[in-house]
Amino acid sequence: MPESRQKHHKKALDSLAGLGKGIIEDIKKAQPPKLKIPSRSTNNIIYDKKNRYYVLGPKYGLRSAASMKQVKKVAQLLCTAEFAKDLVETGKFATLREMYYTAEGWEAGPFHDQGESDAIIEDLEATFGLKRESLGLTPEEDGAAVFGQLTMKEGDTNIDALKSGRGGYTIPPTIDDVEFLKCKAKRVIAVETMGMYHRLIQEEAWKKFDALIVGLKGQAARATRRFLKRANEELGLPVYLNCDGDPFGYHIGMVIISGSANLAYINHELAVPDAKYIGVTASDIVNYKLPTDKLRELDVARLKQLAKDPRYNTEFWQFEIKKMLEIGRKAEQQAFAKYGLAYVVNEYLPAKLKEVEGQTHLGKK
């Protein structure tokens, strides 16, 4: 079992046992058990400037077993916790949907819809400060793919991200169960589109830059983000994000860096605050004379929104947002193909890396 998994495994079991113990004590004292659950409402999501990601504020809600309206919810939360405990102990995983169906047979009754059971899982995640994957529960979707000089072990299986076919290794939702064995790469380059991902593999960018190439498939899945976080923390690799030159590309990068608001309760497990954005910027569009599209109304609105977002409150972002609004144009990563397919690997990325590597102490050329 990988170290990170072990750590989470223990923390999960301890948290679940602690939850049980607290309730038992209350019951023995004939005190109605009350659960303090951190509030996930928008007025309790705050940007942590020091850590550079969203976290939950100090507000919490009370679930009391003495309340007629809440006692069922408390019972359901405990059923969910017991279900999670079994999963963690047996090393199995279940999807959120599977859990929703499993609840059909629970004593505390089925859920009305999956939204209800998902909310209870979020309650547990927020209460324990553990992500659902640590509780044996996974989202439906896989993460994206990684290609490069990294060997891993998942159970009895050895994995080589260089020898998993042309598409690379698909990051599973259970990425925390995967142990990193050996990594020759010195950095991670994550790209927004799978088109660019395959371009970099074909151009052997992994070799040229000593990099793990990660395809994000648009907005990064939790598994992908968790992989990036681990690569950054456990392997000490700097993470570079290459996205489209539009507000949505900016934000795909930013969610990886600073986490999303609706996952504020778990961002400490997912956010990679040191990741650097090396995607297409408004300056790039001008400097490289890239083929562009006109900004749509939606893009303009989104850019204005981003300008006010605390995560973008840096000189770099404020400049690039303003500039994109000024030029009124946007460009995709793949626009560099204007100068030939290999241009992005031969010219653009080396320039970009040179730009950022000077600013970070992590990784060396």
């Binding site: 038992i24 019951i27 023995k28 405990k85």
Partner: protein, 522 residues
């Protein structure tokens, strides 16, 4: 030689009261096919109960309605009681003469008042079917009389046909009326509802009813107590009208108007009688027989100008809260009953009346009897208002009645009642020797402010109890639900918590007791 006048006056004849009512059957309640049938039942049953009470007999009454020849609007109505029976010689007058009877001149609080009821039935049967009414009666002498009665409408006299006598140990009276142009329905206006209401207001009466389709319903008596006999009471001047005075004048033994007033009326001394005569400008010494309509009118007006003691309330005979409660329980089988008999009050400055109110909730309360309305009024679910005057059901003319008015003036939501949905029967009975009916049909009470206010007060008093009951019921339901919820989920919480902590399951009993005991937590 005949003069012109002779010729002209040859056509002159006295129009009898029966002739008058034959032309104005609606005034007696014979209007509409359903109502006519209910009126026949009403007249028969009312007479029977009055007769039993007058002689201290527990009334046992049966009513049967049968179709005749399978014709849709042709019925035979058979009504039988166990009262004293009618002496043979009175049969023609009782059944064949209008305004004859034992009630009008006595000012007793009885159901019937005017002495036209049962002869009205005979008349209605006669003019719609052409058939006489068959009467079988026995005074318990071991001999019964059967006779067919018709009314000579010109002469206001009963005519008897096919009279026969036979040996019979039974006592009572059986009346068989055959009528056409009537319809049977189990609606609010039909005989079934009428009898059901009668049973509620007269818990001492045992009622059996056979419907045309053969359905037999028995309304058992809910008490063995026979109401006190009504005491004859002289009329009080505040309640009389000119024709009352004229009727009294015809019957009195007094030799002067002054004597008539002081002997035949309540609370009138010789001095008051003389004072009234002076005020009315009617000679106190005038012979009663010579009293004219104008004189009578002047006297009635003059009475309003003198001070009089209010009529005594001793003659009022309410049902009594306890008996009413029995009646409502027996017929409606409700979850909650509250009955109230208010102390006597007066209206028009002195006419005594008593209001009784009953509220029944749940069980069969509130639901109108099966069947559709006759189309005059939409049958509603929810609260059912049943009105009575001297225990006699008021079925028709609900809209213009003081009782309806009083019930409508109440904000039922304040008592937790949704009038449109609650299974609630509201019973109101006005007892008085002087019930101010709005018309001769005696189906609604005039809007005397004192009666409306008193009725409203009584309803609110009963409704307060209902509110308490409903509140307690909601609380009890909530408590039970609450306890149920905790009983279901607390053991699960304990079991799962124990499983998580890896310890044995704790006992939840004391916690359960604490949280479901009604103490609110968070």
């Amino acid at each position: 030689m005949k003069t012109m006048a002779d010729e002209l006056f040859g056509e002159f004849r006295e129009h009898s009261v029966s002739e008058f009512f034959r032309r104005n059957a609606a005034m007696l309640g014979y209007t509409g096919k359903i109502r006519s049938l209910t009126t026949i039942v009403h007249e028969g049953v009312t007479n029977s109960i009055d007769a039993c009470e007058a002689s201290g007999i527990m009334p046992k009454i049966s009513v049967t309605i049968k179709r005749v020849n399978d014709e849709p609007e042709h019925f035979k109505i058979v009504m039988e009681d166990n009262a004293t029976g009618i002496p043979e010689q009175y049969i023609p007058d009782v059944f064949g003469k209008m305004l004859a009877g034992t009630k009008l001149h006595q000012a007793m609080q009885q159901r019937g008042q005017q002495g036209i009821g049962i002869s009205g039935c005979v008349m209605f049967g006669q003019i719609t079917s052409g058939k006489p009414t068959t009467v079988v009666t026995s005074t318990g002498s071991g001999e019964a009389v059967r006779a067919e009665v018709m009314i000579d409408l010109d002469k206001n006299q009963g005519k008897i046909f096919n009279k026969e006598k036979f040996k019979e140990k039974w006592r009572g009276t059986r009346v068989e009326v055959e009528a056409k142009e009537v319809a049977y329905q189990r609606s609010r206006y039909g005989p079934f509802n009428y009898l059901r209401m009668t049973a509620i207001a007269n818990p001492h009466v045992h009622l059996t009813f056979a419907e045309p389709d053969g359905t037999l319903t028995v309304f058992e008596n809910a008490t063995e107590k026979i109401p006190d006999r009504p005491k004859p009471m002289p009329l009080h001047p505040w309640g009389i009208m000119s024709d009352d005075l004229l009727i009294l004048a015809k019957r009195t033994k007094a030799r002067s108007v002054s004597g008539l007033l002081s002997t035949e009326l309540s609370r009138v001394s010789k001095a008051k009688a003389d004072e009234v005569c002076r005020l009315a400008n009617v000679p106190a010494t005038k012979r009663p027989a010579e009293l004219s309509w104008e004189d009578a009118e002047k006297i009635v007006t003059a009475f309003k100008q003198v001070k009089l003691l209010a009529p005594p309330t001793s003659g009022l005979r309410p049902i009594g809260a306890a008996d009413l409660e029995n009646g409502m329980k027996q017929v409606l089988n409700p979850e909650f009953v509250k009955t109230i008999t208010r102390p006597p009050k007066v209206y028009r400055g002195g006419l005594p009346f008593i209001v009784e109110v009953g509220i029944a909730y749940g069980g069969n309360a509130g639901k109108a009897p099966e069947g559709k309305s006759n189309g005059d009024e939409i049958e509603e679910a929810g609260m059912d208002l049943i009105r009575f005057a001297n225990r006699a059901p008021l079925v028709f003319d609900q809209g213009g009645c003081a009782i309806t008015d009083a019930a409508r003036k109440i904000d039922w939501r304040r008592y937790g009642v949704d009038v449109s949905a609650a299974p609630l029967t509201l019973f109101v009975n006005i007892s008085s020797a002087y019930v101010p009916y709005t018309s001769a049909g005696k189906q609604s009470i005039a809007d005397e402010p004192e009666i409306i206010n008193e009725t409203r007060t009584a309803i609110m008093e009963a409704a307060r109890e209902l509110r308490l009951f409903l509140y307690r019921r909601i609380r009890a339901k909530e408590r039970a639900e609450r306890a149920g919820v905790f009983e279901q989920f607390l053991p699960i919480i304990a079991r799962k918590a124990a499983s998580l902590a890896g310890v044995s399951e704790p006992d939840v009993k004391s916690l359960l007791k604490k949280v479901s005991g009604g103490i609110e937590h968070a």
